[in-house]
Homo-oligomer: 425 residues x 2
């Protein structure tokens, strides 16, 4: 049976609204108090299947040459084995988790060792990120920003409809969900001030994004054609590209954002494979003007992936959902992003992280940043339990979640969350 | 005796204009036909001292815990040992190479094994680069670019004198000197055209830069103070940040250069330590307005480092020196760059590469790019042996070299060279 088949069930109990049914099987890296060595696992319901334990038990062999790829602190060695290996492992894990498969189900000792409660586990960064690139592929986001800071009548810059604009981000500060985010200090300049001043950012913001992880690199000088690009993608995560708008505004001309975004970029711990997303592929928005030939894509370019952002102030019991949107609004696809990125001959490597850019939809409550949701602070958001927000305050916790809704099940991404801590004094 | 003492001599013969006298001792990674395993060496005259061979012979122990740090394919494990280890190894290597030290001098078998002719060795990338950052710290360069593309009367942007502007570069395409550079394809748009077009860059350029290598990282959220920054720097290399000006012009607003610079960045193979440069430290240019406190530096911020660029067309016997300049012209220092980079809390790691930005001096023949030297192609350069150049043509070989001139000796960087090959058809 195909591992995406909706009829499949696992002997591990999975709630209907769980993000991790047997049809998903996302990969991540975790550790536990009992075993502090980070290792590779697969999420199933509210459990983690420990692939290192299965490998050790002789039930899972991903590397034909006999190497251990799951008792490792990142997914990179596994990913480097290639797409055939990803698919074989996903099929094998699906078989082992099926309700009618006795191997794991009926072996209490192995189950105790290999099925770890997620609640007691610690998530680690799933990949060692070589380079981190961030695109700017939401037309609605680019239009909102252009309207606010430039000219509402010419909000999109001339290049925007011709190429997926992107920039190089900082790889060292990519952190896993749950890592606290310290408010950055930096230079800012008020429009009316003569001189810049120094201090904590007063416009700390989020960016709702997804990112894909490169599963197969390309050699320097050898671009990836757009119709082969998805074969180079291992999977996707949720991402919050924390941004200090006031620092950004002062620093970004002419070389782009730097300190405003280099202090933290949070990603979700579970990498959802493109294979698991296959049933939810949809066409992207129409592209007019037609892109140059190296960017023309005929496949279903997008994914019907619902996304939400929730904000919970320190001490509040309840979070407020401040944004509901969908990945399918994105104008430029992942394949187009990767084809454009490499058309110069730029090489990519296993584990490279490529962000979508802020994902905003057409409705005001579908914007993917506080900058847009509050229109640069002019229209603060009301919060459940009282209070309002223009930008983030110390103690605020931001959680992004996302899932594809199937018939009676969800292919979910879990969440990426982070709490703001005060700036250094 | 201090390893910088000009009186020191080696039993290895060193020509007076050699870049690698016993006072220098730069670190790199090399291999030979006889031993294809990349390993760490130190340049001395026209030889390489094989530190892995010395380590194996029990003559050099850098790691107090007994680990092997020189039989490795990058300098990172050695650098990670910290500044005390760098200094102890430099002192020890200096002692072993002195004309009056018999240990290596009088052991023909060890000499044959440990002193490798540089001409027969292959240079490798000296460090594994985590993140690559490029600054924009030459006032003359920023003024030239601003004059050409914006407004000669307001050439410097408002932020430029207040902070060292920088951007994140692409780490995957950092290559060692000698690696061929394929002309990139990409989107460009003529000012008079309605639509962009696709093809090989017609404005392929160089950027004369230096770069420093981070020797000691900082934790996320914990900035490096400016007066401690140099303690975090291992050493410096020469760098050519190849740039496609026509691709850059079309893509760079608003997020900065991307495909225009991601296809190759070449660095020299020998890392010259800050310790070796100590005798050549000089103050940088006066800074007015005074920088904010986190950027104020009281030490000698710069280095008297002479730099040259030579261009040799395919088939020409002679190269033409097209630029002569000096590192000391740079407005923002390495310490200021690193302090600014981390003031947001951004973490750095051993092996991170941080470029100076194009180094231009005040005279027209001291500009560090063809863009400036030819004023965007309007004033082509005459070449020795005939012909002229506005931008690079296929087959052109560009070589950057640089050295500090001592009394009768040079602390040199060797060279970074690369030859342009045709674009993919």
């Amino acid at each position: 049976m195909h591992p995406n088949d909706p009829i499949l069930r696992s002997f591990v109990e999975v709630a209907p609204d769980s993000h991790f049914p047997i049809q998903n099987l996302p990969f991540g890296v975790f550790s536990t108090d009992a075993d502090r060595a980070p290792r590779v696992g697969v999420a199933i319901g509210d459990r983690i299947l420990d692939l290192a334990a299965l490998e050790e038990a002789g039930l899972l062999a991903a590397d034909p040459s006999g190497g251990r790829v799951f008792a490792r602190r990142s997914l990179n060695p596994f990913i480097a084995l290639g797409r055939d290996a990803w698919r074989q492992v996903r099929v094998r894990v699906s078989e082992l988790l099926r309700h009618d498969s006795p191997i794991l189900r009926d072996d209490p000792a192995l189950r105790a060792r290999a099925l770890v409660p997620m609640a007691g586990a610690r998530a680690h960064l799933p990949v060692e990120v070589g380079d981190y690139t961030d695109f700017y592929s939401s037309r609605e986001h680019a239009t909102n920003v252009g309207s606010m800071f430039r000219d509402p009548k010419n909000a999109l810059l001339p290049n925007w409809l011709h190429l997926p604009v992107g920039y190089n981000g900082r790889a060292s500060s990519v952190v896993v969900s749950g890592t606290p985010v310290r408010r950055p200090n930096g230079q800012t300049k008020e429009p009316t001030a003569d001189q810049p001043s120094f201090g904590p950012s007063r416009k700390l913001d989020i960016e709702l994004e997804t990112a894909f992880i490169v599963g197969r690199g390309n050699a320097l000088g050898e671009p990836i054609p757009v119709d082969e690009a998805e074969g180079h993608i291992f999977g996707m995560v949720l991402m919050n590209d924390w941004s200090a708008r006031d620092i950004q505004q002062w620093e970004y001309v002419p070389l782009g954002p730097f300190n405003a975004k280099s202090f933290a970029t949070s990603i979700s711990p579970w990498v959802v494979t493109l294979d698991a997303l296959e049933p939810f592929r949809v066409p992207g928005p129409p592209q007019d003007p037609e892109p140059l030939p190296y960017l023309r894509q005929v496949d279903k370019a997008s994914v019907d992936l619902h996304l939400e952002v929730a904000l919970r102030p320190d001490g509040n019991a309840d979070a407020t959902t401040v944004c509901r949107t969908n990945f399918r609004h994105l104008y430029w696809s992942m394949a187009q992003q990767l084809a454009h990125h490499t058309i110069s001959g730029c090489n990519t490597r296993v584990g490279d992280l490529m962000g979508s850019g802020t994902i905003s939809g057409p409705e005001p409550d579908s914007f993917g940043s506080l900058l847009e949701l509050t229109w640069n602070g002019r229209n603060p958001l009301a919060l459940a339990g009282g209070g309002e927000r223009s930008f983030l305050e110390d103690g605020d916790e931001v959680t992004i979640t996302g899932w594809c809704q199937g018939d009676g099940y969800r292919i979910g991404f879990g969440e990426v969350t982070g709490r703001v801590t005060p700036a250094l004094g």
